[in-house]
Structures are given as C-alpha cells and as structure tokens.
C-alpha cells in the first residue's frame, strides 16, 4: 500500500482520481461500443418466408386435390398438412357426433386464457360445415403429432377432444380449439379453410388466434413449402 503511493504527493491524489475516472470512462466507452456490435450480431436476423399468407389447395398424396369423400368423419387416423411453412403441421378434421354423422361447426368467440383476449374462430367448411383445421403443435410446450391428436367421440378417454400426452393439455375442436384443461394457456391457432363447392375442393388461406408455438410469427422460422400452389396431406397413426 505504502509502495503504491510512493512518490505521489498528497496534492496529486485528486489528479490520480481524476485520471482514473478518465481511464475507466475511455475503456468503458470502448467496451460499451463493442458490446453493442456483439449483442446485435449474435441474434440471427429473422427473415419471413412470405409477406402474407399464401392460399394453397389441399392435395392428397396421390397428387390430386382432396374431395369431401376423401375425408372420414371422426377419423381416428391423424390427418396432417404443413402450412404455411414446412415445420408447421396442421390437423385436418371432419367432425361428427357419436354416431359419426357430420356436425356443423359454427364460428365462435374463443378466449385466450393467458391474455384474456378473444378471437373469432372460422367455423367449419364443406357441404356439412364440418371440416376444420388447426395448428398441430401444442401451445403448451410444442409437442407434435402423434403425441398430440384428436380422440373421436367414441373414444373412452377425452372423447371429442384434442389431447396432448406430453403434459395433458386438452383442446375442444368443436369450439374453435378452445382450452379445456391446462397446462396450456393458449387455444390452438385456428387454420382458416375455404371450400369450393363447384369443384368439391378445399384450400387453406390463413391462420387466426395465437401464433404457432415456437415461431416469432406464423410466416417465419422455417423453410417454405415445396410448392406455392398446394400442400399435401399426410397421415399418422396415434400411439395411444
């Protein structure tokens, strides 16, 4: 300690402190300036694949547009299509009652429990207004089919519900995929379908409700689909 102050007159203490301040300020300026560059650099730029939702025709795997007859009421097999990006699967459901007769799904107001906000679900399409779609990525922690899937009304567990086996979140597809039980606090994003009754064809045009889980917007965070005019359906068998 005494060695440190050696040769410095007491009058120089102020000068020393002032110079210390100058040094610390100059180095801090360099540090802050560099930090800005590093912090802004390490966050990857997010580029949206599209500027707006594309409208895509739903194709079967045989390469033809699907018709109402291709869809089975209360299908226990999981029917999926990617929209709007490759890593964004959606359920395609034709809903019915316990006797497998089509049920018309009315547009309804869905509440997002997390925020208290609401949105209007699009309702069913098709000749019986019974075909609906939603994001197939669970809003709780992002589990995907076959772990999350639709249980037909005849099922003994979760009849007529979409249930995720990861952590037990349950959604009601008849009421705009609203939250039935937690832990999820967000309903599934509703996928908006349109039906061309003249050609008996289905298209997908947008999403409403919460943002797809794991994406900063529905249109970013993945690769675009192979085609800009159609999206193909695929099927999976539920595990339980």
């Amino acid at each position: 300690m005494s060695e440190k102050n050696n040769g410095d007159e007491p009058a120089d203490k102020d000068r020393r402190n002032f110079f210390k301040f100058l040094g610390v300020a100059a180095i801090a300026a360099g540090g802050i300036g560099a930090l800005r560059g590093v912090l802004e650099n390490v966050s990857p730029p997010i580029t949206a694949a599209f500027s707006a939702f594309p409208t895509l025709l739903l194709y079967s795997q045989s390469g033809k547009p699907i018709s109402t007859n291709d869809l089975i009421v209360n299908n226990s097999t999981i029917v999926l299509f990617d929209y709007p990006l490759q890593n964004e699967p959606n359920f395609l459901l034709r809903l019915g009652d316990s006797n497998n007769n089509d049920v018309a799904i009315e547009p309804t107001t869905v509440t997002i429990p997390a925020t208290g906000k609401t949105f209007q679900s699009p309702g069913g399409v098709g000749p019986h207004n019974s075909v609906v779609a939603s994001s197939a990525i669970c809003q709780h922690l992002g589990c995907i089919p076959p772990i999350i899937h639709f249980y037909p009304p005849s099922s003994s567990s979760y009849p007529g519900k979409v249930h995720c086996n990861c952590h037990g979140s349950t959604y009601d597809p008849y009421k705009g995929f609203a939250v039935v039980t937690g832990p999820t606090t967000h309903p599934l994003p509703n996928t908006v379908l349109t039906y061309d009754s003249a050609k008996d064809q289905y298209s997908v045009s947008s999403l409403v409700g919460p943002t797809i889980y794991g994406h900063s917007s529905d249109l970013s965070g993945g690769n675009p689909l192979a085609s800009s005019s159609y999206t193909e359906i695929s099927t999976l068998t539920p595990t339980s």
Partner: protein, 538 residues
C-alpha cells in the same frame, strides 16, 4: 565440487513453484519496453481471434460455406465487422508471431535456459500458420478453393500415407465433408495453440522474461533477478497489459474497417471473400493462397520443384527452415549473446527474412509462373553469399573494434528491408523492360526509393545518428497530460455516441462503426499511457 542433480523444468515448476506473474524491472514498461512484450501482443491477438471466432461459429454452416459467409457479411448486423476483423486479427497474429520469433532470434533468447521454451514457440508458429490456413479456406470463395487445392496436393503427395492424411484433413471428397473437416481442424488447431501457449507461458514465467542483454554481461544464462526494487505487478503491469491489449485490438479493428471503405484493394489484402469458385468472374481472380503462405506457393513453381511432388518441394523449402529453427538452440550452444559473436545465426536470420519476404513478393507478382532453375539458383545464392560475407566482415570488424555499430539489431533489420526492396526493384526493372507500363515504373521508383532510404538508415544507425533522439525525449508536463487525457476521454464519449446510433444496415456503415470502435480502443490505450506517465512516472 559435487555434481548437481539435473532436474527437468517440469519437475522444477511442480516442486518449486515460482511467483506468477513475476514482477518485472521498470525498463520493460518505459519507452522501448514494448519489445519485451511481443509475446503478450501475440496473446492479445489470439484472444481477439477466439472471441470473434466463437461468434462466427454461431453462424458458419459447413453445408453451405460460401452462402453462409456471404449471408453473414451482408444480412447479419455487424457481420462484416466480425468477419473482416477476424481475418485481420489472424493476419496481425501471424505478423506478431514473426516479429516475436525474429526478435528472439536476433537477441539470442533461444539460448540456455530457454531451449524448450523456444521449441514450443516454433511449434506454435506451425500451428498458427495451420490454423490460419484452415480458417482462410473456410469461406468457400475462389481463393479458398485455390488454397485448398494446393493443400490437398501437398498432403496427398506424402509417400505411402498420402491418401490417408488427405482424408484426415480434407475429408472424403464431398464439399460437406471438406468444410466440416476444415471447421473441425481450425478449432482443433486453435485448441492446440491454447494448450501450447499455456506451456510456453509457464516456461517464460519460470525462466523470467529475458532481461536486457547487458544485464547479464551478454552471457547466458540471461535471467532477470528481482533485487527488491521491482514494482508490484498490480497495478503497474496490469495497467500496462491493458494498454497493450487496447492498442492491439484497436489496430486489428481499424485496419480492415478502413480497407473495407477503400476501392480496389488487391485480393491478397481484401478484407472480404472473393467470388464463388463457380462464378464466371472467378477466372479474373489470381490463384493466391493466403499471403502468409505465398512463399510455399512460389517454391512449387520452381522448375526442379515441379519434377518433385508438391510435398517434397514443401519439405525442402518450408521443412528445412523449420528443422533449422527447431534444432537451433541445441546446435548454437555458445554462451555469448552478442550478435558479433554469432555471425552465422545472425546472417541466417537475415537471409531467412529476405528469402521469406522475397519469395512472398515473387509469389504475389507472378502467381503460378514457372521459374527456371538458373534463376532459382541466382535467387538463393547471390543474396546468400553477399549477406553471409557481409555479416562476417562486419562482425569481425566489430570484434576488432574497427567499427562501432551502436544499434546493431536495427541495422540488421533495416538491412533485411533493404535487400527485399532491392529484390523487388530488380524484379520490377525486368518487368518494366519486358512489358513497359506506368504502374511498373511507379512501383520501381518507389521500391528503389525504399532501398535507398533503408541503405541511408543502415549507415545512419551504424554511426549512431538516431541514439541522440532517445536521450532528447522529454515527457510532457503533468498538466499537459491531464488536459490531453480529458480531451481524449471527451472525444471517446462523443465517438461512443456516434457509433451507438449507426444503423448497421450496410457494409459501409458497419465499417464506419469499426473505425469508430478502433479509435475508441486506441483512445483507451492512449489515456492509460498518459495515466502511467502522470501517476506512475513511467
């Protein structure tokens, strides 16, 4: 006299730990003290490379090497800043490694007791050049493709195990395998540099920083002894180290940022990757390796080397100097540190510098042009005979006290510069006669001027003209330092404000940020220098 048990260094370090970091005498921090810290500056450049390299690792895609590099440059905020300064940090590290090596070669720092320290240093040179080669090749541009092809030729030419080595370093032939391997080897070599550096550093601390040669009467072992008057490491040396770090970082940041703004920077020194190897413009880019490997590249053009494989040519031209450096401390065991007592080592050091620089220059001027055997012989033997004779005569005259060279290291270093520029002007005169052009004439006049100036400097140094200036050096008054320091810090705050509002949406604006940040770092170093002058009287 009882024979002392000879302990090895590791045993001594383990059983008799030395105080780390060691205190150093004041002259290592005052004017000219920077020469004792060339190794520290290499370390700071290495530190900068590790930091920016880890950031680049977040973005690099071996499956998509060129596209991911270009995307990082053009559409990631501050991407061009990180990439160009990473490149120039590597260049700075290579240059500093050479400076560190040459200084220790001229000073005789490789001698007892620092033999194994020197050995790790030479291995560090190889690993540094290797890491530089792989890093340079990772961008996937046309230059990296050319460099990789030469590297493949050299590795594949190793007898018997060539294909095996080729596979280990460059993968199975697919692009993905190539770039994945190069990324991995880049990082592996850097990890090896880190480990070797630790060993190198502990040896340096154990052997002490080599003091001024007059301290030990120009005899080995040159060990620094703390006589109790040395100032503590904290804060004196710490502040000095931060100052050196800020200066090193500042230079690394400023140079590529300025080059990025200049038009028409030659591909050899451009801070940006060139076009893709599949682009139609690729043919217009000369097939250059990184500049620090130009010498290897040129020797492959020699007529007789072309009948050998690239591997054997490399063994002769790069392997032999390395072997020389590796065995040097075990061969040159004389106890004198005076340059005049070891004319062979000194003349080889000068010759090595001349060959390295001239071959690099040759490679830059005539890439891929075959060189006839008689020219090669002339190139090696003419300066060889001249320098060895000259050094011998000067050393002999000095020993007999006929002439008195006061600043011998500077005289020898300037001699090397003189020889390289003389070689360059010779080349340019030839080129100008064959294909007259204004560019060659201007370059020729410039190199002749450099030759003449350095010749004059050599004479001036020998006669002790410059030594007077050092004694005339007078520090500013303390008040002047305080005012200057305040001005510097005030401008630092202003520059910080300026670079904080720059929107990094173009390479141009990002380069302005880089220049601003570099100036900030240099200001930090300058304020610390003034702080040390005012408060520590250093």
């Amino acid at each position: 006299m009882p024979r002392e048990k000879k302990e090895n260094m590791i045993e001594k370090i383990m059983n008799d730990p030395q105080p780390i970091p060691r205190k150093v005498p004041d002259y290592m921090r005052t004017k000219g003290g920077g020469w004792f810290w060339t190794g520290a500056m290499v370390m700071f450049a290495f530190l900068y490379e590790v930091i920016t390299g880890l950031i680049l690792l977040l973005y690099y895609e071996p499956s998509n090497a060129y596209a991911s590099t270009e995307a990082f440059l053009s559409s990631t905020p501050f991407g061009s800043f990180i990439l160009t300064t990473h490149l120039y940090g590597a260049y700075a590290m290579v240059v500093l490694v050479y400076i560190h090596l040459l200084r220790n070669l001229y000073e005789g720092a490789y001698k007892h007791p620092r033999e194994s320290q020197w050995l790790t240093g030479v291995i560090l040179l190889i690993t540094t050049l290797g890491a530089g080669f792989f890093g340079y090749s990772m961008s996937g541009d046309v230059l990296s493709a050319d460099a990789t092809d030469v590297g493949r030729g050299i590795a594949g030419g190793i007898p018997v195990i060539g294909n095996w080595i080729l596979g280990i370093f460059f993968g199975n032939g697919t692009q993905l395998s190539l770039f994945s391997r190069m990324l991995a080897w880049h990082i592996i070599l850097v990890a090896i540099i880190g480990l070797l550096f630790a060993a190198h550093f502990f040896m340096a601390e154990y052997n002490t920083i080599m003091p001024k040669r007059e301290e030990s009467g120009y005899k080995v072992p040159a060990i620094d002894h703390d006589d109790g008057s040395y100032k503590p490491w904290y804060p004196y040396n710490l502040v000095y180290m931060i100052q050196l770090m800020l200066l090193t970082f500042g230079i690394i940041v400023i140079i590529p940022s300025v080059l990025a703004l200049l038009p028409g920077v030659p591909p050899l020194f451009s801070p940006f990757p060139q076009v893709s190897p599949t682009s139609p413009l690729a043919a217009s880019v000369p097939a250059y390796p990184p500049w620090f490997l130009l010498f290897v590249y040129k020797e492959l053009d020699f007529q007789f080397a072309q009948s050998l494989t690239p591997f054997w040519a490399t063994v002769i031209f790069a392997g032999m100097p390395l072997v020389y450096l590796l065995i040097l401390p075990y061969v040159d065991k004389s106890s004198s540190l005076r340059m005049r007592d070891r004319p062979i080592t000194v003349s080889f050091a000068i010759l090595g510098t001349i060959y390295l620089a001239s071959l690099s220059l040759w490679g830059a001027l005539t890439p891929g042009v075959a060189i006839a055997n008689w020219k090669v012989a002339l190139f090696f033997f003419l300066p060889g005979i001249a320098i060895i004779t000259l050094t011998w005569v000067i050393a002999d005259a000095m020993k007999k006290e006929k002439i008195h060279v006061r600043n011998a290291p500077w005289a020898f270093a300037t001699m090397a510069i003189m020889a390289v520029s003389a070689f360059g002007s010779g080349m340019l005169i030839l080129a100008d006669i064959r294909t007259p052009s204004l560019l060659y004439t201007i370059a020729m006049i410039l190199t002749l001027m450099v030759t003449a100036i350095s010749a004059a400097v050599v004479i001036a140094i020998s006669r002790g003209v410059f030594t007077q200036h050092a004694e005339a050096y007078k520090p500013m008054s303390r008040n002047a330092y305080t005012i200057a320091g305040s001005g510097f810090t005030a401008s630092a705050i202003f520059i910080l404000f300026e670079i904080s509002v720059i929107n990094p949406d173009t390479v141009f604006k990002t380069s302005l940020y880089g220049i601003g940040l570099g100036v900030l770092l240099l200001i930090g170093g300058a304020v610390l220098r003034m702080y040390r002058a005012t408060i520590y009287h250093e």
